[in-house]
């Protein structure tokens, strides 16, 4: 691996650490009665409101349409994800330290699979919350489901739900993107022959 590749992988690994500081995703809700907005922050190990009581208030409103209460303690991903990311940071630093190309491919591969799996899982989770509604709910609108979009805005009854990656999510994307670009570059260099490898 080139020295620059190793530096880039080390940087990408450290950058990934930002997911412990900033949320992965934000879902913001606006309604006529909530000009100040309500919002959820999807963090690596927790789901919280943007404001102190937003989660409680969103759960309170959601019970009218039969959505399950969002209870961060009962979401296993929030326990698993920090471990996965910590391992990925350590492994990335190991790749940078050793300069081992096979380890690099492996790291990028696992990181990509993990990232895609995370997004799919998030989508499935929001699908479940938005579709799996209590049949005894007070407000039932035929054909209406309440899954917020992964990215972008959507009208859900009186609320406009807007969803986009948080700083942590963006950091993870830049990190996995950097890893992928470095892996492709190293793979091309390796294919051109041993004399080109360093």
């Amino acid at each position: 691996m080139l020295r620059s590749s190793r530096v880039l992988i080390a940087t990408a690994s450290i950058l990934l650490g930002l997911v412990f500081v900033f949320p992965l995703w934000r879902i913001e809700l606006q309604a006529p009665q909530y000009p100040e907005g309500l919002g959820l922050l999807i963090k690596i190990s927790d789901i919280t409101g943007v404001k102190k009581h937003d989660l409680q208030n969103i759960n309170g409103l959601n019970h009218y349409i039969g959505m399950k209460s969002i209870e961060p303690d009962s979401i296993p991903e929030l326990k698993f994800m920090p471990v996965f990311v910590a391992v990925m940071i350590a492994a990335g630093l190991l790749v940078a330290a050793t300069g081992n190309r096979v380890l690099l491919y492996l790291w990028v591969g696992v990181f990509l699979i993990g990232s895609v799996a995370g997004l799919v899982d998030f989508w499935l989770w929001s699908y479940d919350y938005g579709h799996n509604l209590d049949p005894t709910a007070a407000i039932k609108v035929p054909g209406m489901t309440y899954q917020p979009p992964l990215i972008g805005s959507k009208q859900l009854l009186n609320f406009v739900a807007t969803s986009w990656p948080g700083l942590g999510g963006l950091a993870a994307m830049v990190s996995v993107g950097t890893g992928s670009v470095v892996a492709v570059r190293e793979w091309r260099r390796a294919r051109r022959g041993p004399e080109a490898t360093g």
Partner: protein, 647 residues
């Protein structure tokens, strides 16, 4: 329909124009359009100032926005307020306790904002109760009454609750002199037995009030007050009338002397005398009410005040002769001029603080009353404003060298110069103006944009509403040379006085919810799972929660006729502007209105068997109409056990 409306509006505009032209002396056509834009606050926009008006005989406080004149809130203080349970609920009843027992009504007069360095600071608002002498303190982060202290040895607490420059003290004084301490004496022994009292109430850093000392003074009617500022800091001034000491038909008998007095009190000197032990300890019982850390009002019976007299503490009180039955005593922003509203006088006398000090040093006295030297009028007067209108009452200042005095009888505001003491402008008030108010107009730094007339009579100003008509406030632009009427709006109760502050001082400090984790009410229910019903002899305690959109429990059985059922209701909401209410059939009390995170208690004594609904009274959500429950009442001695449901 549309054509009719347009026609009517056109007609109305024409009439308004005519009126303005007629009254304003040649306001150009369309001039009222400017007035409209000057007070227009677009939907969704905020007013620039909060405006606090005393409720007068309502006992409460009105809160308006300026310049729109929109009513924002009424703060219950001295009167029970069934709308939110003030003075009815178990948690607030104690606020209306006095040494005479529970008093359900009061007469609130003068809102006074706290000051630091002579400038409004937005911490608290004080207001006096005239009838059963008290002072209340309103917390400006919650707009709730936080504390009420009774003033003993006083009667008619009118010259109150004006603060000193750093809110060291808020004052109280006797408008109706009485035997002090109270005694069973003939009323016509007034001259021998009746006295007034000037009370200084210390305000602690956290706002808590206590009566520091009281000054026993001759039995006149002490009417209004203001404290010195800047160079006159350390002094307080009280007007008095009835120096004739009449005890009957005061309208004639108290209007005979050419001059009455302003009492100038050197309160720093009074502090010295008290510190030197020159005061006398009187056994005076009075009640002090405040919220404890459980957000429950408690009443302490206090005992004893320190009373000092001018005879034993020299250099403390001086009388400034002042024509004639003066009402307001108003200190200009420099702290050097003291304007008096001699309500039967032909001039507005303006005393000079500097000359007053010189006269005191020169002992330029013309006499003495009960140890109080009377200064020579000619030696202390800075100027007399000629032709100030009839019945000058009260003066405030714009900070730009002018004073504005209300004239009750001629129903107008006169603007005069603090340099020349000449009237430079006048504008009618509709009708019979009492006090007036300029934002910060009694402080060192007024916001001299408007003067607001506070009127007693409205007659033909609004759509008539039977015999009882609204009082009013009139917003008048004082930014230019000529005063200009912009708006008038009806007020709640009687606005004896009002003060205003810039919204930016307190707007962002408003409490939105009470955090449930900080709710220390001993009977709070913080989770639905803890809701329950318990019998304690003839008392039944219901520990109930509310959250959109249900009560827990909402089915209660086992109550018997004649039980005292305590509904301890906790609003679990932690969302702004989501109060819930609670009411039950036949309760001989008000509803509960519960702010988010708050616990309040309603006591219900069912008189008849049956099943009685209870429900939420504040439209809280889409399913508000479903927010209800039932309480079953069985005969006395019934075997139906206490039962209730939880989720």
């Amino acid at each position: 329909m549309i054509r009719t409306t347009k026609f009517a509006m056109g007609l109305a505009a024409g009439v308004v124009t005519l009126l303005v032209a007629g009254c304003g002396g040649g306001t150009p056509i369309g001039g009222n359009g400017d007035a409209a834009s000057a007070v227009y606050v677009a939907p969704g926009d905020y007013d620039e100032f909060y405006f606090f008006t005393s409720g007068g005989f309502s006992g409460q406080l009105g809160v308006y926005g300026l310049p729109s004149g929109r009513l924002l809130k009424q703060v219950p203080i001295f009167s029970q307020w069934a709308e939110n349970g003030w003075g009815y609920t178990e948690e607030t009843k104690a606020m209306l306790e006095t040494s005479y027992g529970f008093v359900p009504w009061g007469d609130s007069h003068h809102p006074e904002l706290s000051q630091t360095d002579g400038v409004i600071d937005g911490r608290w608002l004080f207001i006096n109760e005239n009838n059963t002498p008290r002072i209340a303190r309103i917390d400006l982060t919650t707009f709730e009454t936080a504390e009420i202290i009774e003033i003993p040895n006083s009667a008619g607490n009118h010259a109150s609750p004006f603060v000193t420059q750093n809110t060291e003290y808020t004052v109280a004084a006797t408008r109706f002199s009485v035997p002090t301490p109270q005694a069973d004496v003939p009323i016509d022994s007034y001259k021998e037995n009746f006295s007034g009292m000037l009370s200084f109430v210390k305000v602690a850093d956290n706002g808590r009030m206590n009566i520091a000392f009281q000054i026993l003074v001759p039995g006149y009617n002490y009417d209004l007050s203001h404290s010195g500022k800047g160079p006159s800091h350390g002094w307080s001034f009280f007007t008095s009338y009835n120096s004739e000491q009449a005890n009957t038909l005061l309208e004639v008998n108290a209007s005979q002397n050419d001059k009455d007095y302003i009492a100038a009190v050197n309160w720093m000197r009074a502090e010295e005398c008290v510190a030197n032990g020159q005061g006398e300890r009187w056994a005076s019982n009075y009640v002090h009410n405040y919220f404890n850390d459980q957000h429950i009002a408690v009443s302490d019976m206090e005992n004893g005040t320190t009373v000092i007299t001018p005879a034993t503490c020299s250099d403390m009180v001086y009388y400034l002769p002042t024509p004639k039955s003066p009402h307001g005593v108003d200190v200009d922003p420099s702290g050097l001029l003291i304007a008096a509203g001699g309500k039967l006088a032909a001039v507005i006398p303006v005393h000079s603080f500097t000359k007053m000090i010189t006269a005191i040093e020169n002992e330029d006295f013309i006499g003495e009353v009960e140890g109080i030297p009377i200064l020579r009028y000619e030696s202390i007067i800075a100027g007399e404003v000629q032709n100030p209108g009839l019945g000058p009452l009260h003066t405030e200042f714009d900070g730009k060298g002018y004073a504005y005095t209300s004239a009750f009888i001629s129903s107008e505001i006169v603007k005069w110069s603090l340099e020349t003491f000449e009237v430079v402008d006048r504008i009618p008030a509709y009708y019979s103006i009492g006090h007036l108010s300029i934002p910060g107009g009694d402080t060192r730094e007024p916001w001299g944009k408007w003067v607001i007339a506070l009127n007693k009579v409205t007659k033909d100003r609004y759509l008539p509403t039977g015999p009882e008509l609204a009082h009013s406030a009139q917003l008048i632009d004082i930014s230019g040379d000529k005063m200009r009427l912009l708006l008038d709006f009806p007020t709640v109760g009687e606005p004896h006085y009002a003060q205003a502050l810039p919204a930016s001082l307190i707007k962002d400090k408003q409490v939105q919810i009470y955090p449930i984790e900080d709710n220390h009410h001993p009977r709070a229910t913080k989770r639905e799972a803890d809701a329950r019903v318990e019998r304690e002899g003839r008392n039944v305690r219901v520990y109930m929660t509310t959250i959109r959109t249900h009560f827990v429990p909402d089915n209660i059985e086992g109550i018997q006729v004649g039980d005292s059922v305590f509904f301890h209701v906790t609003n679990l909401e932690q969302d702004w502007d989501v109060p819930h209410g609670f009411a039950i059939t036949g309760a001989n009390t008000s509803e509960l209105l519960l702010m988010p995170g708050e616990t309040r208690t309603l006591v219900w004594v069912p008189k008849r068997i049956g099943v009685y609904p209870f429900y939420c009274t504040d439209f809280c959500s889409a399913l508000h109409q479903e927010m209800q429950g039932y309480a079953r009442v069985s005969p006395r001695g019934s075997s139906v056990p206490i039962s209730f449901n939880t989720p």
